[in-house]
Amino acid sequence: MLNSLLVVALVAIIAWLGAAIGLGSLFGVVLPYVAIVVFLGGVVWRMVWWAKSPVPFAIPTTGGQEKSLDFIKQAQWDCPDTTLGVVKRMFLEVFLFRSLFRNVNAEIKQDDPVNGGPRLIYYSSKWLWVFALLFHYCFFIVFFRHFRFFVDPVPGCVSFMEMIDGFLQIGAPRFYLTGGLLLVAVLFLIGRRLVNPRVRYISLTQDYFPLFLILGIVVSGIAMRYFLKTDITQVKAFVMGLVHFNPISADGIDPIFFVHVCLVSTLLIYFPFSKLTHMAGIFFSPTRNLPCNTRRVRHVNPWNPPKDFLTYPEYEDLYREAMAGANLPLDKPLEAETKQKSGE
């Protein structure tokens, strides 16, 4: 946990110092380009690596009633049997975190007075779902808002999003809700890893690292916007240089900008080699993206080995006498066999 915090802090400090001694173009130009190439290449490579292995069996988790008889109501969202149904199921998973929404907490009472013994009680527990949704959507909106730096003139949808996001009209520059909520969500996600003993036990360095990294990004972004300040006209000119592949000098931009950019770049580089690939992975998940029609449509396994089993003739050979004794019909009658033998 501390390791990851240190690494993130180190990245930020290096970027700060680097920018301060005039290496702005290294952290502002070279690093982002490298990061984007690594990110795009890495994620594509990861998807290809997954795709190189087949899906030998159709193993959807049936999350409700299957489609069977006419009078039995199918759970269309959780047990879809058509491609369209699967698209709906995936939509729920990707955009609304359907599975996480099911979450319940199981609590074991050692001695329940009502029960006269141990008792297991289940509580609906939607906090993880709420904050996970909040985190992902805020992250997306914050990213989307940044298009005001990538595009000129700024498209109406971005302005609209900014208007909604800043509707409270607090302060100047106006406070964006999503930025604040993103911070809250990240802190919740870090907090539950530290406080919940189970999650704490399973958490690894690579669980804390991206959280701290994103925390760093959010904090540096908020700091830049509201507190430390930089000349954003210069920043936009600089960023537009980047997206036009025509980078300009980084002079006149506060180091906090490079800290922010450097942390984002780190995240992009780290992304394809980490659990963050769940972004692409969810689409590949065979327990979710296959229709629950496995008795109606045959799924083909490309490496299906040849059949190898005890065939009926072999079985009959093993038990012919006993089978004859039990008056079971035989493919090769006992008499014929004994006759053959005696004939020889």
């Binding site: 193993i59 009078f71 996480l100 079971l328």
Partner: protein, 544 residues
């Protein structure tokens, strides 16, 4: 078998999380914590790799000399074969949503029984070989090398998972621990590690057609005996067609139903129902096993044991197969059978109910229908004369077995049937039924006596839910459609909710079924007195 602690003790003595990180802790192989290993002869007979004698409690498991290479190569091979494995190794974010969804974790409080850590045991090995950072940073980021202890740990926890898929339902990415457990078990088999309780049935099934190793003549004998019992109870002797050609339907059920109490009552139920319908069907001594312990071993072993079904349907010229009440059998049939051994033989056609004309379009390719679907359809079309009051001594609840629930979606068909054959039906709490059902805690080959305490632990959530409805509604019967359940739930109920008995669905159907030409029924299939006997008697006398 050691004496079991009381439920209170069992819950109270769950240890706290260890102070050390999970990479530092190792499982202790004490009697009762592990299942007995497969015998060398069994493994040899099945041509399994590296058959050998070994003892889980011993330090040395007698692995082959190059075991590490074998395992690494096998792991690589599985990664190439299963996209799911690659994906599940890569995308887990360790959010912990799966943690308290596992009945083994709830019952043992062993952190490595949280599905996420169970997978992490393999993921840590994956990290070393398939990620740059893992190679460099090692333990700091949860990567580790294969060593003897790791193999033991994988074995320990791969056999504390019933592949029930409850965690996969709650996982935001659908990571399926059943898939991981199945593959870990495959890997362990590469170095000759397997369970007696699994491999023995597999061997039996390979050579005799069923897990119990019942030879053809004995199989016939047992079924005839059950048919005799049916005659005593109903007054009509059901037909028992064996290995006959030219019937429309081949009926296959788990062999546990032929052999073990209370499964036999379900089997008698099949016989009575089919006889009443005058169903054009045959049983087979060759394909006399619906269950598939091969699916607890490896995908190829599951395929091997499953192959007999289509082979026999082809030989006997049956148009479709009717499947009995079994859990993992239906996971295999629903999601694997067609892929393993399809396409179906040319003589088979899309199943059509001979009585209602219902076309089972949902089984168009596999051509295999679940008996609960078949019965629900019959009842819907009023083809069965039912007297549910014969089950009035029973206050029922329904246990969704894990495989039909989350690997098939068979939820409402059995309920539909049940509600028509019993008058008293109560659901268990909503987080313990339907797709969220808790399994019996001893599926996937873990229903052995030597781990009884572990089974009671993993069965706690189910037992707890059962106790709840027992106290609230007076439930005294839990019905289910799984042969393993019928074997594992009775001790579980005795422990957690004493007084509740277990039965299959068709047993209750046959109790309620009014047959043509039956004599006055005085006992149910268990030869217990029927309820309302006193009240009905004068009425009956007058009527007849």
């Amino acid at each position: 078998m050691a004496k079991l602690p009381t439920p209170q003790e069992l819950v109270a003595n769950r240890p706290a999380f260890p102070a050390e990180a999970w990479l530092e802790t190792k499982p202790k192989f004490v009697p009762g914590s592990y299942c007995y290993p497969a015998k060398k002869e069994t493994m040899e007979a099945l041509h399994m790799p590296h058959p050998h004698e070994w003892d889980p409690a011993a330090d040395d498991w007698q692995l082959p000399e190059n075991w590490e290479k074998i395992l690494c190569d096998a792991f690589e091979d599985r990664l190439k074969k299963h996209r799911s494995l690659k994906l599940f190794m890569d995308i887990c974010v360790r959010c912990g949503a799966c943690a308290d969804k596992c009945q083994f974790f709830l019952g043992t409080n062993d952190p490595k029984n949280m599905p996420v850590l169970r997978a992490e045991l393999l993921r840590s090995l994956y990290r070393r070989d398939y990620s740059m950072l893992g190679k460099i940073l090692g333990k700091k980021i949860g990567a580790r090398s294969w060593d003897y202890q790791t193999v033991k740990e994988l074995f320990f926890y791969a056999y504390q998972c019933t592949e029930c898929r409850r965690c996969s339902l709650f996982c935001p990415y659908g990571i399926d621990t059943a898939e991981i457990t199945a593959i870990v078990r495959e890997l362990l088999h590469e170095v000759g590690l397997g369970l007696h309780w699994i491999m023995d049935p597999v061997k039996n099934c390979s050579y005799t057609g069923n897990h119990l190793g019942i030879k053809p003549h004995s199989y016939v004998e047992i079924v005839e005996m059950l048919a005799d019992d049916c005659e005593d109870i109903v007054g009509v002797r059901p037909k028992t067609p064996f290995n006959e050609r030219g019937h429309e339907i081949l009926f296959i059920c788990p062999s546990g139903d032929v052999f073990a109490d209370p499964g036999i009552y379900t089997f008698m139920g099949y016989l009575i129902l089919f006889n009443e319908l005058d169903l054009d069907y045959t049983l087979s001594t060759y394909a006399s096993e619906g269950g598939n312990f091969g699916s607890f071993v490896s995908f190829n072993m599951a395929k091997k044991l499953n192959a007999k079904m289509y082979e026999e349907a082809q030989r006997l010229g049956c148009k479709w197969i009717l499947g009995g009440e079994c859990g993992h059998m239906w996971r295999v049939i629903n999601q694997y059978m067609d892929t393993y051994n399809g396409p179906t033989p040319s003589n088979m056609t899309t199943p059509v109910s001979p009585y209602t004309g219902t076309v089972f379009k949902n089984a168009a390719s596999t051509k295999m229908v679940h008996i609960a679907e078949f019965e629900a359809d019959l009842i819907r079309h009023n083809k069965l004369k039912l007297d549910p009051s014969r089950n009035d001594d029973l206050i029922c609840t329904w246990h969704d077995s894990c495989n039909p629930a989350r690997g098939m979606g068979l939820l409402d068909e059995p309920r539909y049937v049940l509600k028509h054959v019993v008058n008293h039906f109560y659901e268990m709490p909503e987080n313990t039924i339907r797709e969220q059902t808790f399994c019996c805690g001893a599926g996937s080959g873990l229903n052995t006596e030597e781990i009884m305490e572990l089974r009671m632990r993993s069965g706690m959530p189910r037992g707890n839910a059962l106790r709840y409805v027992q106290q609230k509604y007076g439930v005294n019967r839990m019905a289910c459609c799984c042969a393993i359940d019928r074997a594992t739930l009775p001790p579980l109920a005795d422990y957690w909710a004493p007084g509740v008995t277990i039965s299959g669905l068709t047993e209750l159907v046959a109790n309620a079924l009014v047959c043509k030409g039956e004599h006055k029924r005085t006992v149910n299939l268990r030869q217990e007195d029927l309820p309302h006997l006193d009240e009905e008697e004068p009425e009956g006398n007058e009527g007849e």
